[in-house]
Every structure is written in structure tokens, then in C-alpha cells.
């Protein structure tokens, strides 16, 4: 089986007016076929940058990024991944259906095939009744579902997601997480998922990659042990195994068991 993503010794330095910023320093990570990997860490730890390197939206200063054994650039041109950002990024003048169809349109998929694929995707994200609506008529959660459907349009074997639920309220967020788990199980795609919610990362992932800032690097990798065949539902959220992993990720994020702020104040 071929790895979905292979990142080796990657560094990324941004040159800004106020000097150099070391966004990533010597990061190595492999994401297997069909594996769900979350990147978590405080702001400025380079988790989004790492995802953007895989998407070929940025180029590494040093090291190599391979996607399905190809260069990131080749993978982008071949449409090997689908992507969703924190903001849905829908085109406001297009309907839901036309937004989902956008990548298919650009890659010259025929009208009839496009229509059936869009219907299938709208069904998958539960928006069949809203196909003719415009984005400004939808709630934030619905917009994000359209963005996910759009990311899946080309049946990618890799899904890159940069805090896709970051702007949603807690209830919508949990529902979207369950739906994403179902969708990725249906499609069998590997996922690189950037988040700063610990429960979200544990709930969805096979592995949680914990990062720390200045310079951005991976400090630990935690295997959740929650298999792909385990249902992502309310029962899982309340299981002891889930809480255990949440605590473990939290400890890894803070570098040590959390001290109470009241004690720190003295």
C-alpha cells in the first residue's frame, strides 16, 4: 500500500519585513492510505503551513513533500487531493449545485456526468433540497457542507482540511464531525485535518500529531486506538477510552500535567 503523504525533513522560513519567521523546522510525518491524521497545536505552530505544503500552496525551504509517491506539485495538477478551509469559500454568485460542480467544470467533465455527480454529492452531505439555493441563503454549517461536497467532487483519495469547523457553533460542530467521519468511511480517503480542538482531533483521528511553535515542530504523535470501524457517535464521546485520549493529547500539548491558574498566580 502506498502512503498518502510523506513529509521528510521539511523546513519552511517566511521572509517578512521584520525578518525571518521559522514556521516549520525539520518536520517529518507519514500519512498512510485511508488514515485520518489531525494536526493540533497553538496558533503559530505551523500546522496550517504544513497542510499548505502538502497542498502545494507553499513550497518548503528544505526537505521533501510527496503525495502518493509524486511531488506535491504533480499531485496538485493531477487533482489527487480535495481541500476545505475554515471559511467555506463558496462563490456567492453560484448556486449550491454550481459551487459543487466548480472543480468538475474546470477539469472539463461533461454536463451530464457533472449533473449526476453533483446530485450524488449533494445527497451525501444532505443538501439535495438546497441545490438551487445561493450560499447567502444557507447557515454556516450548510455552507461548510457544500465546501466538503466540493472537495470530494473529484473522488480524491486524500482530503486536506484546515479547521473546517472552526467557525461553527458547538452543536453544529459535533454534528458535522459525525458526518465527516461517515463520509470519510464511505469514501475511504485519507485525511489531514488541522484543528485546535482536542476532542475534535481525538474523536475523528487515527493519529493526533501535536505541534509546538517557534519554530513549528512535531512534539508528539498519539495513536487514538479508535478504529475506522468504530462508530463516531455520542456513545464514543462519553466513553472512558475517549476521555483518556483527550487527557493524553492535552498533556502532550501543555508539555506537562496542567497546573491550575490559581496556583500559578501566587
Amino acid at each position: 500500500m502506498q502512503d498518502a503523504v510523506r513529509i521528510e525533513g521539511v523546513s519552511k522560513t517566511f521572509v517578512t519585513r521584520s525578518g525571518q519567521v521559522h514556521a516549520l523546522a525539520d518536520v517529518s510525518l507519514t500519512v498512510g492510505e485511508g488514515e485520518f491524521v489531525s494536526l493540533i497545536g497553538p496558533s503559530g505552530c505551523g500546522k496550517s503551513t504544513l497542510m499548505r505544503l502538502v497542498a502545494d500552496l507553499e513550497q518548503p525551504t528544505a526537505g521533501t513533500v510527496e503525495v502518493f509517491g509524486k511531488t506535491a506539485r504533480k499531485a496538485r495538477v493531477d487533482q489527487d487531493y480535495g481541500i476545505a478551509f475554515q471559511q467555506a469559500g463558496l462563490l456567492p454568485w453560484r448556486t449550491v449545485a454550481a459551487n459543487i460542480a466548480l472543480p468538475l467544470e474546470i477539469h472539463g467533465v461533461g454536463r451530464r456526468e457533472r449533473r449526476s455527480r453533483v446530485a450524488e454529492l449533494a445527497e451525501m452531505v444532505g443538501l439535495s433540497d438546497f441545490a438551487d439555493h445561493h450560499p447567502d441563503q444557507l447557515s454556516g454549517g450548510m455552507q461548510q457542507r457544500v465546501a466538503i461536497a466540493r472537495a470530494l467532487a473529484e473522488r480524491p483519495r486524500l482530503l486536506l482540511m484546515d479547521e473546517p469547523f472552526g467557525a461553527l457553533d458547538e452543536m453544529t460542530r459535533e454534528r458535522m464531525q459525525s458526518e465527516l467521519a461517515r463520509i470519510t468511511a464511505e469514501t475511504g480517503a485519507a485525511v489531514v485535518f488541522v484543528t485546535h480542538s482536542i476532542p475534535e482531533a481525538v474523536f475523528l483521528s487515527d493519529r493526533v500529531v501535536v505541534m509546538s511553535p517557534r519554530p513549528g515542530r512535531i512534539t508528539s504523535v498519539i495513536t487514538t486506538g479508535i478504529g475506522r470501524d468504530t462508530a463516531r457517535d455520542e456513545a464514543l464521546r462519553e466513553s472512558p477510552a475517549f476521555f483518556e485520549k483527550v487527557t493524553e493529547v492535552r498533556a502532550a500539548l501543555h508539555g506537562a500535567p496542567v497546573r491550575s491558574p490559581a496556583l500559578e498566580g501566587r
Partner: protein
């Protein structure tokens, strides 16, 4: 107030103001005896409008035609050049000073030159002036519109490995569309005014502007005012058409928050 009476009031208020204004005007002339040379009464102007309706219609047709021809040419030129300027920074840099100078060219200065350049029996000079006047707002607004794409959308097109042309068609041009329409709306009034004013400075007889000046020169003040009234109607009509066009297209392109 209920919505219906509110709407009725919104229509009635300006009509009332207009009627009151005309009544006061008529009163000034017929009761207080303001000289006809200074200010002809509305009833006289109305009579002239009726008597010369054929000539006025023909004149409006000529001026309107010149304005439309200039508007279309100027708008197309504005959109095409703005697209090029948006595409290549160096082209924008090259064009910016030219556009800035075109924007400040006084019609009064240019009209006699162009009218004699194209010859006394040609409408091209007037159309060229209308085109120049229409070009500037369309170019400026379109260029601004072409720069409205967000980094997020550009990233998205980049992940689709979309070509420059595909990105332009799917993203850049639709983002710019409302701005292009605003430019055209502003350009329409300018094109009508410019086509009209250009008629004061030579070129063939005919057109509202040239009749206003000849009527005034032969002391037919009421007739001159009748042509002025027709010019106002023409300008308003053109403006209304573009407002409707803008509404129609914006209805198809809802500009909600680009979330």
C-alpha cells in the same frame, strides 16, 4: 403607516414637490410678470414641446444615438483595457497616466478639435467625445472590481490547477461584474451629457444640444427650454435603463457575504 401607504407616500412626495414647483413657476411669470426673456412660463414651454414634438424627437434620437454609440465603444474599451491592466502590472503602470489625463480632458476643449478633425458633416467627433467620457468610469470601476478576489478563492483555484483564463472566467470576472455595472451606470449619464455638450462646438446641425443653442441664439427662449426639458428626459431615461439593468444582473448575482 402601513407598507402600502408608505409606498404611496414615497411616490406622491416627489410628484407633489414637482407640481408645486411648476405652480410657483407659473405664478411668478403670469401673476408677478417676470419677463419672458428671463424665464418663459411652463405653459409656454409645454406648448413649444407640443408644436415641435417631431423635431424634438428627431433631435433626441440623434443625441441619444451618439451617446449610445459612445457609451458602447467606451465601455467595451474600458472593460478590455481594465482586464489587461488587471492581468499585467506593467500594462497598468503604462496605462495609468494615460487614463488620468483622459479623465481630466475638458470636453469644451476637445470638442471643437474633434469636430473639425472628422469634418463638419460627421457625428464621429461627438461619438468620440461620448466614448472618452464613458471610458474613464468604466475602466476605473472595472479595474477595482477585478481586484476583489479573495486570497482564499485564489488558493482554491490554484488547488484546482486552473489556468489563468479559467480563473479569470470562473472567479475574477464574476467578482468584478457588479463593479462593471456601477461603472456603466455612471458612464451613461456622462455619455449623454458629453454628446449633448459636444453639439455646441460645431459638427452637423441636429441633436438637442445644437437646437438649444440655435433656439437661444434666435431669442426663442421657450423653445430652447423645451429642448432642455427633452434633454433632461433623455438623460433620466438612459439612467433608468442602466439602473434597471444593474438590478436585473445583481438579482442573478447575489452579492452576499463571501463566506
Amino acid at each position: 403607516m402601513s407598507p402600502t401607504t408608505e409606498r404611496a407616500a414615497r411616490v406622491a412626495a416627489p410628484v407633489l414637490v414637482g407640481v408645486l414647483g411648476l405652480a410657483v413657476w407659473q405664478l411668478l411669470v403670469s401673476v408677478l410678470g417676470v419677463s419672458e426673456y428671463l424665464l418663459p412660463s411652463p405653459s409656454e414651454i409645454w406648448a413649444e414641446l407640443g408644436e415641435n414634438s417631431q423635431a424634438i424627437r428627431e433631435a433626441a434620437w440623434i443625441t441619444g444615438g451618439n451617446a449610445l454609440a459612445g457609451l458602447v465603444f467606451g465601455a467595451v474599451l474600458g472593460v478590455v483595457l481594465a482586464a489587461l491592466a488587471g492581468w499585467a502590472r506593467w500594462f497598468d503602470g503604462m496605462l495609468a497616466p494615460v487614463v488620468a489625463s483622459v479623465a481630466v480632458v475638458p470636453i469644451v476643449a476637445l470638442a471643437p478639435v474633434l469636430n473639425s478633425m472628422y469634418g463638419a458633416d460627421s457625428e464621429y467627433g461627438r461619438r468620440a467625445i461620448a466614448a472618452l467620457a464613458a471610458f474613464v468610469p468604466v475602466f476605473v470601476n472595472t479595474l477595482r472590481g477585478l481586484r476583489q478576489t479573495t486570497p482564499l478563492h485564489r488558493d482554491l483555484m490554484s488547488t484546482y490547477a486552473a489556468s489563468g483564463w479559467q480563473t479569470f472566467r470562473a472567479l475574477t470576472l464574476p467578482s468584478a461584474a457588479p463593479y462593471v455595472l456601477t461603472g456603466i451606470r455612471v458612464a451613461t449619464s456622462l455619455a449623454v451629457i458629453s454628446a449633448l455638450v459636444a453639439e455646441y462646438f460645431g459638427g452637423p446641425r441636429g441633436g438637442l444640444g445644437s437646437f438649444i443653442s440655435t433656439s437661444a441664439a434666435t431669442s426663442a427662449y421657450a423653445r430652447a427650454w423645451a429642448y432642455v426639458a427633452a434633454a433632461i428626459l433623455l438623460g433620466l431615461g438612459a439612467y433608468l435603463v442602466t439602473v434597471l439593468l444593474e438590478r436585473l444582473v445583481q438579482h442573478r448575482l447575489p452579492t452576499g457575504n463571501p463566506r
